[in-house]
Amino acid sequence: MIWLDTVVQGLLLGGLYALFAAGLSLVFGIMRLVNLAHGDLIIFAAFLILVVVELTGLNPFLCALIAAPALFAFGWALQRFVLNRVLGKDILPPLLVTFGLSVALQNGMLEVFSADSRRIRAGALESASIDLGPVTVGIMPLLTFASAVLVIFALNRIFYFSALGRAFRATSDDAVTASLMGIDPRSVFAIATGLAMVTVTIAALYLGMRSNFDPSVGPARLIYAFEAVIIGGLGSLWGTLLGGAIIGVAQTVGAQINPEWQVLTGHLAFLVVLLVRPRGLFPRAVD
């Protein structure tokens, strides 16, 4: 019974990791951009939501709704004015720029918010749970997982069934020919990053409600997010969800054996999958 419980907890944790990873998957899939500041951007969004909560006293979900457009604009501007300038065949410039951004963000937040641990209060929701027969699950993890599924579903619909999604896929395939179709790749990339920041906002909401956070915890989230994306395979959003689930389950199983092993088993699962499938489980045909 305890193992079933462990696996279920792991799956739900995977939902959180998939939320971390969704935006990354989108951006990585469209422009091969490795954004090393992604984790810190999640923390940044969490702090922003906290600020809105403190200013308005509203429910955190509403505050996230208010913060989302601001974060979209931030992501759009970041891509348009900074990251677009370093995109190219060389992976090093975007890696280094986002590395710099990561350090700048962490320390900026440290100065403004101090190193104190924070939490987004969600009231009764934090400890509520529901009986699902053989296991009892917390409402919060369940909501998180459900949100992850919803976000991935929505992103997928955009990606495969909308004109914007066509533009995403075409620009990712061949930016020059896409421009011959009247599409401005720089604009497409900027919208993609903006969209990614919206998913980051949702991820930040659930992260902040679930556990304490402070300016330094970004990079750890980044690793889990990347592991989920890479396990899933380039360009596969459902793969990212599966990747998150695999990392989540590996972590909870590891923690069950020995609490000190939680993070380690997650990493080992990642390495094992990559050993067998260097391009992930569901990579796109085109790379």
């Binding site: 990585f28 091969r32 490795v34 900074v82 300038r85 370093v86 992976i91 090093l92 410039p93 890696l95 280094l96 720029v97 590395f99 710099g100 951004l101 990561s102 350090v103 700048a104 963000l105 962490q106 320390n107 900026g108 440290l110 100065e111 990079p219 690793i223 990347f226 592991e227 890479i230 000190e260 993070v263 380690l264 990493h267 080992l268 990642f270 390495l271 990559l274 050993l275 260097p278 391009r279």
Partner: protein
């Protein structure tokens, strides 16, 4: 018939070579009159310089962008600690254990990472470094998660410290610093000499070819796989030696510190980027700038780091080849003669030198 030879030497490089010898000589006798804090600063500069040159080799010249070199710093340091604490070695020879341990770790890391490309490779190396850190943190004998220090008996008795103390009239602690400094100087000079030799050799030319276009290089017979393994392993060993040396000086270790992404990868990458990636002169410029910033602004804590991050962004946007790159592009000067040129001699006329620049 025309005589064609390949040469790399320039006037600037010859001058620089002479100057370098002079600098090294100065460096050796420096402890005779330098203050202790200067020696300590130079230790920091020299060790960071070595790490930066090595990272520049694999990423800038080899095209292997690793974000996991901290694995080798950490394992090197821990191997040295193991030698001292578990087997009673003197810390200085135990440094060699660091190089060996890093080499051993590099084998599975390369085996795994070379299956991956580009961004996947980078993340893969980072994860492996994390796994190493987590595993080492389980090693209770060496302090587990909280770490440990070198035992007093070991640090009090390091080879050569007594002789140094008497030679320079210093106290033991200061003499240890001098010994560490000399080792760092030897390591820095040795590493740069080795890298320079590699780049001047046929393997160096092959490495540049692999970086530019893996498939094309293979099609002309370059054994890209063997070359990358060679460079990666050598880099790991050198990094391991530096890691061990750094922790001989610090004498206190913990997994978080020894495997720190910030100190051993972020700062190193900053140094290479700001100085200029893909050129030997770059890290030298970079480490001086970095040390200068560190000295002037370290008191400002996170403002300093924030500024460092912003500087990295600005440099990559506007000077992607770094400060040295800006300088070299304007003046065409190279201190390390690595760029090959054709010298064409026509027996019926005076010899002419052509600059071997191909059309893009």
């Amino acid at each position: 018939m025309m005589q064609v030879t390949v040469t790399a030497r320039t006037r600037a490089s010859t001058l620089a070579g002479v100057a370098a010898l002079g600098l090294i000589g100065l460096g050796v006798i420096l402890p005779a009159f330098a203050s202790r804090s200067l020696i300590q600063d130079l230790f920091f500069i020299l060790t960071m310089l070595t790490l930066a040159q090595v990272w520049n080799l694999i990423a800038g010249y080899g095209g292997m962008v690793s974000v996991g070199q901290q694995a080798f710093v950490g394992i090197g340091a821990y191997a040295m600690f193991a030698g001292v604490i578990l087997w009673g070695w003197d810390p200085v020879p135990a440094i060699l254990l660091g190089g060996v341990a890093a080499l051993v770790l590099a084998v599975p890391m390369a085996f795994f990472a070379f299956r991956l490309q580009g961004a996947y490779f980078a993340i893969g190396t980072w994860v492996i470094a994390e796994v190493t850190r987590l595993l080492v943190a389980q090693w209770k004998t060496l302090g587990g998660g909280t770490g440990t220090s070198l035992p007093r008996e070991a640090t009090a008795d390091i080879i050569g410290v007594d002789a140094l103390a008497r030679l320079f009239g210093l106290r033991d602690a200061a003499a240890r610093d001098v010994l560490a400094y000399w080792l760092a100087l030897a390591l820095a000079v040795g590493t740069m000499a080795a890298i320079y030799a590699l780049l001047r050799s046929r393997n160096g030319l092959a490495l540049a070819a692999v970086r530019d276009n893996d498939n094309a290089a293979r099609s002309v017979g370059v054994d890209a796989v063997r070359l990358k393994w060679l460079v990666f392993l050598a880099a790991a060993a050198m990094t391991g030696l530096v890691g061990a040396l750094i922790y001989v000086q610090t004498a206190r270790i913990s997994p978080d510190a020894a495997f720190s992404v910030t100190n051993w990868t972020a700062y190193v990458i900053f140094i290479v980027v700001i100085g200029g990636i893909g050129r030997l002169e770059g890290p030298i410029v970079g480490v001086i700038v970095f040390w200068g910033l560190q000295t002037a602004f370290a008191d400002y804590g996170s403002w300093y780091l924030l500024a460092l991050g912003l500087i990295a962004i600005v440099v990559m946007l506007f000077a992607p080849r770094g400060l040295w790159g800006l300088f070299a592009d304007r003046t065409q000067i190279a201190l390390f003669a690595v760029q090959r040129r054709l010298v064409v001699e026509n027996p019926s006329a005076t010899p002419r030198k052509t600059n071997g620049k191909a059309a893009p």
